[in-house]
């Protein structure tokens, strides 16, 4: 279980990106949503250890991991799928899957992970993660890597961004399947109603604050009824 206690994050000593976030993640599938610039990706990076919070504590299964490095947190069971997957010249898909699986993975397992994300292993296993792969292909490989890690907490940062509609339908199926199989928790940053629809709970972050946190049934209707008129435009019209 992940617990965030009074997490704040500021840059340059003043600009506050996150303010006093308190939450416990006990469910299997938690979606994080909210307007752009609301602090969603920052929160994910704080959980993964890429950013250090300026205030507050992070607990994983009751253990304080606030001061642990990215590597230490990864080894405690936290996975993080990047919004924009990284390209590597020279490293192949099979190399990354092996590293994700903790050093080695046999060809059948690697094929299994790739098949899950809709990639034919034969075509991809020896491909380098370089510019020859499209953004959508990299996204799927990124998801396959988190499957290979099989940790108790996986944080996905907008897995649907840059994925075409056809692939998106498959992606939803991937997450539905993960939701059934997973033994830990998935946190997924998303703006997509179809992803929010399969979440157990929804975190709504706005302007760096935890605006809402509750079950899908509690939060989703309110989000869908939010007035989407641009306030600047509204002011002008008045």
């Amino acid at each position: 279980m992940l617990e965030l206690q009074h997490i704040s994050f500021a840059v340059d000593g003043s600009k506050e990106i996150l303010r006093d976030i308190n939450l416990k993640v006990e469910d299997r599938f938690v979606a994080i949503t909210g307007p752009n610039g609301g602090g969603k990706s920052t929160l994910a990076k704080i959980i993964a250890g890429i950013f250090q919070p300026t205030e507050g504590r992070i607990l994983l299964d009751g253990e304080d991991i606030t001061n642990l490095s990215i590597t230490q947190r990864a080894n405690k069971g936290i996975s993080y799928a990047f919004q924009q997957p990284v390209r590597f010249k020279g490293l192949r898909v099979r190399d990354l899957l092996a590293l994700a699986a903790g050093g080695s993975t046999d060809i059948n397992q690697a094929c299994g992970y790739l098949s899950e994300v809709g990639l034919c292993a034969r075509d991809y296993i020896d491909r380098e993660l370089n510019d020859s792969l499209s953004g959508g292909e990299l996204k799927r490989i990124e998801i396959a890597m988190t499957m290979a890690r099989n940790t108790k907490l996986t944080v996905f940062d907008e897995p649907e961004a840059g994925i075409d509609l056809w692939s998106f339908n498959n992606l939803i199926r991937v997450f539905e399947k993960m939701n059934e199989k997973i033994h830990g928790s998935i946190m997924i940053i998303s703006h997509q109603e179809r992803i929010l629809n399969i979440a157990d709970k929804i975190i709504y972050l706005k302007e760096g604050r935890l605006a809402q946190y509750g079950t899908r049934q509690e939060v989703l209707p309110q989000l869908l009824n939010t007035d989407s008129t641009c306030s600047v435009l509204a002011d002008k019209l008045q």
């Binding site: 590597t71 990284v86 020279g90 490293l91 994700a100």
Partner: protein, 307 residues
């Protein structure tokens, strides 16, 4: 024959545990140590200067020639000229490579000048690996390989050249002249550490219509080492030229790239790409989120890059 140290070097540069099959000429400490010729491949010692002439009969297919050089005597300065005459329609692999083991305080040096004459439609894969080792307080290991290539119509050469460790100072020169429809691909991999310097220079003349060159250089410069990449592609006919220099710099290392392209024909299509920088922070972070330490992540990135 070869002693244990020399056999170890041979393993590093030519992946040989024993004498190879096919034609070979092994040179140890400036002397011929072993030689074998075949019905199609002849090796003759030069009379006017140190070195050998290698003649490969036209139409020879699926044969190989190994010509490794090992130096284990400190202070030895070895200069050798190896000329390859590859007949038309051949399809052969040539494995060169030089290893120096220096346990003394003097400079050991090997300057290998290799000239390739590829006949019409000949296809050659040329693999060259340079490696140095020795005690910590040893003298310098120096290698200055020069490769001169003449390609006739429709011939193709794939040159894979690697220098990963132990060479303190190197100046690598490669020049090539391509006739109609000839193709040249060079894949160079270099890593320098400590105070090492590596200078690499390519000059390619695309003289024939539809000739094509692809130069790919990948390098990693660590510690205080310095690298210099210099390439010049001259498009003198309707042709295609591409060069690519990718370098990762670490610590206090420095890398210079000075590519040049000259189009002397309206249909010459020439491209150069150069990228020099430290290994991206994002790459390190990604591998750390998979559980690797920063040092392990860096090793993976460098090893993958030079694989």
């Amino acid at each position: 024959m070869l002693d244990n140290i020399q056999m170890n070097i041979l393993r590093e540069v030519a992946e040989l545990d024993a004498l190879p099959t096919g034609a070979y000429n092994i040179r140890a400490n400036g002397q011929g140590a072993a030689r074998n010729t075949t019905a199609n491949i002849d090796i003759i010692t030069k009379q006017d200067k140190p070195g050998i002439d290698i003649f490969i009969k036209l139409g020879t297919k699926n044969e190989s020639v190994h010509i490794p050089v090992v130096i284990s005597e400190t202070g030895l300065k070895d200069l050798v000229y190896n000329d390859f005459y590859i007949g038309a329609d051949c399809d052969v692999t040539i494995i060169a490579g030089c290893g120096i083991h220096n346990c003394g305080n003097q400079e050991s040096r090997h300057d290998g000048i290799h000239t390739f004459h590829l006949g019409k439609n000949a296809k050659v894969r040329y693999i060259e690996k340079h490696y140095g080792t020795g005690t910590e307080d040893r003298g310098k290991n120096v290698m200055n390989p020069e490769t001169i290539v003449f390609q006739e119509e429709g011939s193709s050469l794939l040159m894979e050249t690697t220098q990963i460790s132990g060479i303190d100072d190197t100046y690598r020169m490669t020049s090539a002249t391509l006739a109609q429809g000839a193709q040249l691909t060079v894949k160079e991999k270099i890593m320098t550490t400590g105070e090492q310097t590596a200078k690499t220079n390519f000059v390619v003349d695309l003289n024939g219509a539809d000739s094509k060159v692809n130069l790919q250089s990948r390098s990693v410069a660590k510690d205080h080492s310095h690298q210099y990449f210099d390439s010049k592609i001259n498009g003198n006919a309707p042709c295609a030229g591409h060069s690519e220099c990718d370098a990762i710099i670490m610590d206090s290392a420095t890398v210079e790239a000075s590519p040049s392209l000259t189009a002397n024909n309206i249909d010459a299509a020439l491209i150069h790409e150069a990228a020099i920088g430290k290994s991206a922070g994002e790459q390190l972070i990604k591998l750390m989120t998979l559980g690797l330490t920063e040092k392990e992540a860096e090793e993976q990135i460098v090893n993958g890059f030079l694989k």
